[in-house]
Subunit: 238 residues, 2 copies
DNA sequence: CCGACGTTGCGAACACCGTACGCATATGGG
DNA sequence: CCCATATGCGTACGGTGTTCGCAACGTCGG
């Protein structure tokens, strides 16, 4: 009948809820989930921990979210709102495409856990933010004059997704080590050198000093992006 | 989480001895793990089930494999052996690159679980098969005459990885439904149409009858691959 | 004002999971 | 033959996602 451990629930203490700590809602749950994912990574997100963060029991979340997978889908769509796509009437289409691609990459690197989710679910999600992202892209590439705009979009964003998820996964590994990227790289070098031994072309690439990892990644992404845009430009009529 | 000092230990550095044919060996474990992953997907692979399949207890596997993550790394390298890269002296470099890209994609679609692993770990793995895959690519693109061969490789395979992992994730979702791809698509259509409502450019793309899904995916991959190769061709001297 | 009802929170429980530990057994070298 | 080492594995610990049934609550018809 009465609880045996913990404070005895009192009628007087039970009355009101904090107004600034709002009731459990789907939006609040998704927001907090994204916060946990960003701060501690995908393997740290459990329903129990998320419930505790919201001053709620673990199973209470299931009143607002059907399953953890659904929650992840909602989290992805939440983050998709951050991706910026220039308007369709942008004067310079290459600059516009570069902006959209860069915005996608920046979002992926800000929330590296999406690479895990994308690997498991692909782009089959139908959330409103992802849809409007796709719509803006379609509008842009159609206005540019591509005869098959969705083909061009798929090509461009396959590259962007491939590069971004690889980078995000790498950054996740680095983050898990608790070190800076440069420190982690130098600690990984012995194993890498051994693995590369006997492979002449790879060894050559590993011979030169790498330099600032962030600048290298930025340059690598920009290079590939230019390659893809060059290839796409050839498909433009005129 | 915990930062450590000293070189990062690599799975590949640790020795393994190879007696005649014991029931339990690292090779046998990895082979069986790949079989389970192919047949039942990544979420169906547990150490207990894998042990049972090998007529062994779950914890016996830990005599040959340090952790499940390490086992996944070994599994990835195992299937990496299937990827074919033409020799460096191939006469037609575009055909050679197309062959390598297609072989990667085919391997990814044969083992769709790798997209999940790639999303979590990226390409930081240093297994011998992955290394020799990279080495062959480097040899090919160097022989072709690319001034920055690893840049070209990174660009091409970012596209290939992005497209392949998206496809693999999609096929995983389809497989989980137990239906054919066409049946699953048609069952998904109502939700897709609703999500697309109000987005004119997307709705237009959804209006036409899709046709055979396999042929569509093949054509999409080939289109993007040609785009990337066109962009790369512009970087070739001469 | 009050009672019925749909909604929400939640504690307990279930069936798993990865894996650390310690003990039993098998094997091979001196 | 004996001992050292390698290998198998039963048990257990601390987690996981999720189901279920019950209690408390807000709302609204009467």
């Amino acid at each position: 009948m009465t609880a045996r451990t913990g404070p005895i629930p009192s009628v007087w203490a039970r009355g009101q809820r904090e107004p600034d700590q709002p009731a459990l809602s789907r939006a609040a749950i998704v927001r907090e989930a994204v916060a946990v994912l960003d701060a501690e990574g995908i393997e740290a997100l459990s329903m129990r921990k998320l419930g505790a963060r919201l001053n709620a029991g673990a199973t209470s979340l299931y009143r607002h979210v059907a399953t953890k997978d659904e929650l992840m889908e909602l989290a992805v769509d939440e983050v998709a709102a951050e991706i910026h796509v220039p308007p369709a009437d942008s004067p310079d289409w290459r600059a516009a495409a570069t902006e959209a691609a860069g915005s996608f990459r920046a979002t992926a690197l800000r929330h590296p856990w999406i690479s895990s989710v994308l690997g498991q679910a692909g782009l089959a999600y139908l959330g409103p933010n992802l849809m409007s992202f796709s719509e803006r892209l379609a509008a842009l590439f159609t206005a540019v004059g591509f005869p098959e705009p969705h083909r061009a979009i798929d090509t461009l964003f396959s590259y962007v997704v491939g590069m971004s998820t690889t980078e995000a996964a790498w950054l996740t590994t680095v983050a898990r080590s608790g070190e800076t990227e440069a420190a982690f790289v130098s600690r990984l070098m012995p194993a890498a050198r051994e693995a590369v031994a006997g492979h002449d072309h790879l060894a050559a690439a590993y011979a030169t000093d790498p330099g600032d990892p962030v600048a290298i990644r930025d340059a690598k992404f920009a290079y590939g992006l230019d390659v893809v845009l060059d290839g796409l430009a050839m498909r433009l009529p005129g």
